[in-house]
Structure formats: C-alpha cells, structure tokens
C-alpha cells in the first residue's frame, strides 16, 4: 500500500494514498467533527462541520472530501475553524426543535455534542421551526422530520450499502424531508441501519421509544443469537432488562452492520412461554417439580430403559442455538453416561449437506466461509440462494463486491433482494440450479475452457465427463427454462473471469437445493482449477458450526436424524431433545409427531414451552443465550464469547449445567463442572479441525426431483427463510413479529387468476401429506407454477406438507391450491 505522510495539528501521520483528510485523522486518533460522513459510504460534503485549515490553501476545506497529499499541513482546531463550525451549527439549530428532553437521542446525539463544544448559546437569526407530524405508522422505525438535519446518511446507507433504497429526500428548500416515495408508510426490510447512522434523533427505534435515557444503561457487546454471520450486537441493559440493540463502528466482524434480527430480535427471551421451573408429566399433565425431583426422575427412567433395551435405544438432538459448551456436554453425556452414538441435530437437513459435499469433493472436514471472500472475486455466481436474507450482513459483501465492479450473477427463480442487487439474473425453474451447473460444466468441457492439467488429475474426472453427457445446452434449457445462449455465455464468461466464487446457502428449510447442488458447485470449482475455498456455503445459525464441530453428529454406528425420527421401526425408546422443536421445524410433522408419541421417555430441555415440550414426559428449563456464559462458532469459523448479561429466568440453569447435574444423578460424573473446564476440553477438540490434507474428487451430481408435480398437484411449493426471521426462534420476538408475524403464500398473478385467488384472501394448500391454510399474497417476485412460503411460524404448520430429503434429490413439494 502506498502511504502518504502529512501533518495534522503538528503531529506527523501516515495514511493510505487516496484517503481523505478526515479518514487520515480518524485513523490516527484525531477527531474531526462530522455529520454527513460514514466509513461505508463515499464522501458527500454536505454538512460542512468537518472544515479544517490546510496550509497554503485559501479558505477552509471539507476534511471528508479533500484527499490527502504528501507533505500536507492541516489544522483541525483553529479559531477560524471554530468560528465556521459555530456558524454552521447556528444555521442547523435555526429550525431545530431542540426538544432534547424528550428526544431519545439525547446523550449520544452528535448535534448536541457539537453544539455543546462549538455552538453558541444564542442564535443571531430567527426563523420558524419545522412542524411536521411524527411518523409512527411503520413497524420498528420512527421518523421525526423536525429533528432531521438532512445529512443524507440514511438515504445513502439504505441505497448504497444496504441495497434497498426505501427512503429519499422529498420536497424542496425548507420543506425537504426524508420519506418513502409519496409520503407513504415506510415499508422496507426494517434492518434499522438508517437509525444507527442518523446523527440526530430524526430516526429512532420504535421499540425503544421513551424507554430510557442513554445514561441509565449499560451497553454490552454480545454475539447475535440468530444467523451464522456471528455479528456483534451492542445490547443496552437497564435494570437487568435488555431494551435496545445496535451496531457500533469497529465492533465485531460486522463492523457495526446489523440486520433487523440482530438489532431487534433480542426480546425473544422475554416471550411469555419462557419455562421457569422443571416439569414432570403426572396423570397426563405437566406439573411443576423441583430440580432434584426432575433430574432423579430422568435418571431413573433413563436408567431402566438402558437396562431393558440397551443404550442404543436412547437418542439425542442437539441445538444450533445452544453454545458449543452446551452441545459438547450433551454429546459427552450421551456418549459417556448413556453410552449411545445416536446424536444428531436439525443441521442434518441443512448444513450436513454442505459438510458432506465438502467432505466428498475436497476431503475436508472443516470449511468455514471466508468473510471477505466475496470481495476477492471478480465473478460471483450465486445458486438459488438469497444470501442477503439467510446471512444478511455477509450478504452485504456481495452487494459491495458488485458496487466495486465485480460481476454478480444470481440464478434464482424468485426475485430476491440479492437478485435486485445483481448484475445478472438467471431466472430458472425452482430447484434446477444443479442442472444449470451441470450445463455450464458441459459447455466448459466441450469448449475446452477448463483447467485441463489440474482437472484431469483429479479423481473421477472421466466419471464427471460422462455424467454430463445428457446436460447439453438444449437439454438444460428445457429443464431450467434458461435459454441456450445464456447458458453458453454464462459458462464462457464465468470460466474466463480472473477470479471466481460460487456461493449458496444450506438452510434446513430451503427445498430448492440439495446435496447434489452443492456437489455440482464443488465440481465446477475443481473443473476450473480453483481452490476449494471459492465454494462458499455458510453454516446456517449462530452456532451451527460450533455444534457440528463439538461432535453433535453420529461418530460411528449412531443413527442419523432420518433413522431416529422417520424410520418405520420404532427402535428408539427414549429421546433427549435440547433446544429444538421438531414438531414445528422438522419436515413431515405427522411422521415426527408419531415417532415422538411412541417414545417411552421424551425429555425436552428448552427455554420455551414449545409444542414439542408440551408432549414431553419431563421438561427442563434452560437459560437463554444472554443468561449464560459460553461460546458460539460463526459460519466463518470464529469462536466468539457470549456472556451472562441478564439474570436467568425463574429457576432456569444453563444447558451444560443440566448435564453436569444429570450425570451426577445417574451416578456417572463427567468430571467437568464449569464453563472454563468445558471450554478447555472443547478447544482441544476444536484445534484439530481443518488440519487434514485435502483430497479432491469429482462426484457426478444429477438433477432429480424426489417428488414430481402431477395433474393432481400441479404446483411446486418452495419453502425458505425470510429476511426478518431466523428459524422458529425469531417468531417469539415481539419486535420482529411487528414486522412479519404470520406465514403467507406468495404466488404469481397468472396463477392467482388461474386458481381464482384474491390478494390477501385465504388459500388451502394441499399436498399428499396434508393441507394447511395460508394468506395469499400475489407478487411478481415468484414465477408461475410455483408458490413460496416462509417456514418460521409455528401455527402455520407449513412442515405438514414437507418431507426430508434422503439422497441428493431436490425435495420440492408438489401441491395444489384452492381458495378457502
């Protein structure tokens, strides 16, 4: 990097060439007041608070939009500068309501701070104050146009960084204000980034409105409990209650960026159905019990089942939301105290596919994503994944890459946020991503565009070659609906790009991809001689990767989830579920329910009284993520600490501690009694990860649907995540529910007409497994013959219709819809 040397306030500093004076100063610990600058945005030069004196230059320069030069001499705090800032403030405060006493920003308001430092106590001018109504009509975001200083930060962060563009300046002169088009109610993705960036109290969190003052609160850095990005969110705690979340510059891998879940989703821990005491089923009802009673009961029943049916009749389900320590103790308890290897988790339907693909293709046991990987590629190919909704903050790097000039091609059936921010949208039939990849490889091989030396040296090359013979552009075009030319061009452009990246998500709820899609992605990577880390498949939730690495998966003969819950022969007699709600989140609810009912002993350890917990013989209350110490491993492989920042609820204790006590109750001490002791063992285990040598191998991956549409079920049901939610957990957050609180069904206008469905009316969705009722939303985002349904909401019971995929086929669900 080229460094430039300059002098600021007599101090010699160095900064990268091309930086502005403001950036150089901030980087070297010299503060220059600014109101319209943000590290993530290009210079704007609108507020003139950042003026400085530059030697040899007439007048004052705006530090945020003046580039540094070698030998430049800058003074940031001279009388002239102060006078100018004072004048700027005078003008800003001219229309300002100055209602600091009732403004939630007070105490951390930049305008307030600057007025305190530079402003005068009177104003030489007088003019009328703005008198616009406050806008409180949208969820979570409130707007008070009177306090706005028109710095434009919110408009720019929303458009340029977040890729949404929901708000803009409207009106002229004195009447200018920030608003969605036509002063409508704000209806955006509600990430809240604009709130964090607003220097004043013009944008605020509705959920925090008048709740506190900043000086009453302690701010705690915590890892977000939702997706695999592992963002750090700053949670404000007052009187032992979390009341606000926000991002902070320089904090965490996310550097202050957050999505709505990280900012607002913390309040799920205050849901009404939090468990407060252990409960035991007596005469058909769950009744309160003491810890000793409950643990003794579990120990005895478990013991007698082991005695009667052997340890292999006990199974356990771990949780992607619990800490590494919790999961480590679960598997240790199962393996050492019970003696079973039947340990699995919901990741079986999600990340396990990615893991399997990486293992088969690259021989790798541990492949976290690279946080910056999207920024290092010139051509990014995303296969049927809305990364911006599954991994919102990592997804921003894809948008940033596009803004920096990379080519972002997104193959998706639905018009997602990522599609709207892409350079190229390859609109294909849902679930056909694997065919598209195969088609591309066919073209690449036929036209000799691949890395012959490397690829031919990889195991199974000829098998791959012959498996592709049916994927001619014509055939692939017929499957995917993408034109032959587009397939050819995509293959040519992709293979000729300087640096490449294939990315897709691995959500358990996503049924448009499967193992084969990921294998095909890996094949493409190897065919072009790229390194394995150009295939990026993130782990889904906050601790998916940590749980997986802690050993919550069968090591040898143990049963996987499919055998535990969906097998016809009921060989499992006892099931121990930690922090998972199979009745809602697992596919094919009827089958799961059946299996659970057949258990002799069902123990559920959770923070809520979930639908599954309601079926249990024993329910054990655990601490939520903010009520215990531990660690999470993000999708990027970073092990990050979570801490106890609020008191536990009722008699709840941390999950790991439950296993400590339970193993003692069973007379088998595991020998670990604190987080520190567990962590020490865990880190030993984790330190061996990703150390094995890679061994590449092609794995032919065919495109096949497990169930095909028919005349009885002519449509395909696509299930997935939406941006505002994450699994079923977030639906217990009131804040997030104020944005989206119910499942819906999106369908194309053409289908709506065909099946006589009116917007926002109820429709029956019927598959061969059952039927559910959903509200219909007619949208141009989805293609014909397809319906899209988010899976987060328990009462919608979407998983009545779905089924788990066993092999590499695509588990799309053929359905029929009828007006209800």
């Amino acid at each position: 990097m080229n460094l430039v040397e300059l002098t600021i306030n007599g101090k010699t500093v160095k900064a990268a060439k091309g930086a502005t004076i403001l950036q150089a100063a901030l980087k070297n610990g010299i503060y220059i007041p600014n109101l319209c600058y943000d590290r993530r945005l290009s210079p704007y030069g609108g507020c003139r608070m950042c003026v400085v004196e530059v030697e040899g230059q007439k007048g004052l320069s705006a530090a945020c939009s003046t580039q540094i030069r070698e030998g430049m001499v800058v003074f940031t705090e001279t009388p002239v500068v102060a006078k100018s800032r004072k004048a700027v403030l005078e003008l800003l405060l001219l229309h300002h309501p100055l209602d600091c006493p009732v403004c939630d920003k007070a105490g951390e308001c930049k305008l307030q701070d600057m007025a305190y430092k530079y402003g005068s106590t009177s104003n030489r001018f007088s003019a009328s104050r703005k008198d616009e109504p406050e806008r409180l009509d949208s969820p979570v975001v409130e707007r008070n146009p009177n306090r706005c200083i028109l710095c434009g930060l919110c408009v720019r962060i929303c458009q340029d960084h977040q890729g949404v563009g929901a708000i803009n300046f409207i009106g002229r002169g004195f009447k200018t204000k920030i608003s969605p088009a036509f002063e409508e109610t704000l209806d955006c993705e509600f990430c809240g980034q604009c709130i964090d960036v607003c220097p004043v109290g013009a944008l605020g969190s509705k959920t925090y409105r008048f709740m506190s003052r900043v000086w009453y609160m302690n701010e705690e850095e915590m890892i977000c409990p939702y997706c695999g990005c592992g963002c750090t969110t700053n949670l404000s705690v007052r009187q032992g209650k979390i009341i606000r979340g926000r991002g902070k510059e320089g904090v965490g891998i996310n550097d202050g960026d957050l999505c709505g879940k990280g900012r607002y989703g913390f309040d799920y821990i205050y849901a009404e159905n939090r468990l407060k005491t252990p409960m035991i089923r007596k005469e058909g009802n769950l009744v309160r019990a003491s810890w000793d009673e409950a643990l003794k009961y579990v120990a005895e029943r478990m013991g007698s089942i082991i005695e009667k049916h052997g340890p292999a009749s006990v199974g356990a389900i771990g949780s992607q939301r619990c800490s590494i320590e919790d999961n480590f103790m679960l598997q240790k308890f199962m393996r050492e105290a019970v003696g079973t290897d039947n340990i699995d988790s919901a990741a079986r339907f999600g990340y396990a596919k990615a893991h399997k693909a990486m293992e088969k293709s690259f021989g790798s046991d541990f492949m976290p994503i690279g946080w910056e990987a999207p920024l290092n590629a010139k051509f990014l190919l995303v296969i049927e994944s809305d990364i911006t909704s599954a991994m919102p903050v990592w997804g921003l790097n894809f948008i940033l890459a596009r803004n920096n000039g990379a080519h972002l091609a997104v193959a998706d059936s639905k018009e997602t946020k990522l599609v709207r921010n892409s350079s190229q949208w390859i609109r294909l039939v849902p679930g056909t991503g694997v065919a598209l990849l195969n088609g591309m490889m066919k073209v690449i091989i036929d036209e000799g565009l691949y890395d012959k030396e490397k690829a031919q040296g990889i195991q199974n090359f000829s098998a791959l070659e012959s498996s592709l013979k049916d994927y001619t552009p014509a055939a692939v075009s017929a499957i995917t609906g993408v034109s032959e030319d587009e397939i050819r061009n995509l293959a040519r452009e992709y293979s000729s790009a300087k640096s490449r990246l294939v990315a897709m998500t691995s959500g358990a709820s996503e049924n448009i991809k499967s193992l084969n899609t990921m294998l095909a992605g890996a094949n493409l990577v190897m065919l072009l001689g790229d390194s394995p880390d150009t295939l990026q498949i993130p782990a889904e939730f906050s601790n998916t990767l940590g749980m997986w690495s802690a050993g919550v998966r069968p090591a040898e003969q143990g049963k996987e989830m499919q055998e535990m819950l969906y097998a016809k022969d009921a060989s499992l007699k006892a099931l121990y579920i930690m922090g998972e709600n199979p009745i809602v989140t697992f596919h094919d609810v009827a089958a799961v329910e059946n299996t659970l009912k057949g258990m002799e002993l069902l123990v559920v350890q959770d923070i809520f009284l979930t639908d599954t917990a309601k079926m249990a013989d024993v329910v054990l209350p655990a601490c939520s993520w903010a009520e215990k110490d531990g660690t999470f491993m993000s999708a990027a492989g970073a092990v990050q600490k979570i801490r106890k920042i609020v008191k536990e609820t009722g008699e709840a204790i941390p999950d790991w501690e439950i296993f400590v006590r339970l193993s003692k109750a069973m007379g088998k001490d595991l020998g670990l009694n604190s987080v520190a002791e567990i962590s020490a063992q865990v880190s030993e285990k984790l330190s061996t990860l990703g150390k094995n040598d890679l061994k590449l191998s092609f794995n032919p991956a065919a495109y096949e649907l497990i169930e095909n549409s028919s005349s009885e079920f002519p449509m395909l049901l696509v299930t997935a995540n939406i941006l505002q939610h994450s699994g079923a957990l977030s639906s217990l957050s009131r804040n997030l529910d104020s944005v989206v609180s119910d499942a819906y069904l999106e369908l194309s206008p053409a289908d709506a007409e065909k099946y006589k469905i009116i917007n926002e009316s109820y429709v029956k969705v019927i598959s061969k497994r059952g039927e559910i009722l959903l509200k219909a939303i007619i949208s141009n985002e989805v293609p014909e013959k397809t319906v899209f349904v988010p899976i987060h909401f328990a009462h919608a019971k979407v998983n009545t219709l779905t089924y788990p995929a066993v092999n590499g086929g695509i588990p799309l669900v053929p359905v029929r819809i009828e007006p209800a």
Binding site: C100, V102, S122, N123, F125, S126, E134, R209, R213
Partner: protein
Amino acid sequence: MTFNELTKRIFMTEILKGMALTLKTMFTKPVTRQYPEEKREALPGFRGLHALVRKSDSSLRCVGCGLCAAICPSRCISIYTSEGVDHTKVVDRYEVEVLKCLFCGFCVEACPFGAVVLTEHFEYSDYSREALFMTKEKLLNNWDKFMAGKKGEQYFEKYWRPLAEDFGTPENQPVLKNRRAD
C-alpha cells in the same frame, strides 16, 4: 510577676468580671428553642425535602428527561418513562431515595423546566426506610403541601429559575427576521 498582675490578683478582677456577666445573663431571655413546640421558619432558599412541581392543570411538570438523575452525585433519583396512548412521553415512576440525598440541590439546578425542587420542609424523620422512599405521588403531594401558590412562585423567581430560560433566541435580530420560511 509585674505590678499589674499583682494588683489583678489582689483585687480578684477576673472573677468579678465573670460574675458580672453571669449576673447580666440572669436577667436576659433564654436562647433555647422549645422544639418541637416552638418551630422555626426556614430561611429563604432552604434545601429540604424534594417535591415535583404540579402545573396549573394539576399535571406533572417533569417530562422525564433524566438530567436530574444524571447530575445527582449520590445517584438517588430513578425515573421510568414509557410511551403514552397518544404517543407522548409519560413519566411512570419518579423516585427519590431521600436517605441517600445530600441536599446539594444539583437536581434543581439541572432541570431545564424547574420541575423538581427542594422545599422548606425538613421534618420528615420516620421509623421506616420506606416512608422516606419518595414516589412520584408523594413528591407531588409535597408540592401541594409545601410549595403550592405564592411561595412556589417566589422561589421560582429567586432560586429555581431554570437556566434554560436564559437561552432563548433574542428578539429583534436583523437577519431572516419575520421571514416565514414557506
């Protein structure tokens, strides 16, 4: 021993002087006050028990800005606010732990509205701590009891005038004056 000292000794001047004072005080009125039968008026500006000012429409003057709580050196003020039905800010609880207070009067000075004051009342000893934990209602009562009417007004004029009142935009400014923005 000098001659002077010698004469003093012989004539017992010192003792006589003392006796004269004793005799004199025997005929003056005693200074002891028979408190609590006999009460003394507080001097103006006295800093006694807290009160929250009630506006003429009988509502609370405090808006819950929390500046008093922020400045209080003994951290004895807690304020809890929330959003009211009409979306305005409502002060749900305003509590002073009087036993912690050191009567510095900073809270009064910090308040931009003159909403919290220290009354002249000082006789509030009690047998329980709870009685001296002042809630919003008790504090409003204090105002009614000790400061409502003329007395409060006088105190505002002399002692409690919020500093914020000195920061108005001056009248008669040349630029932009009377220019309506629309």
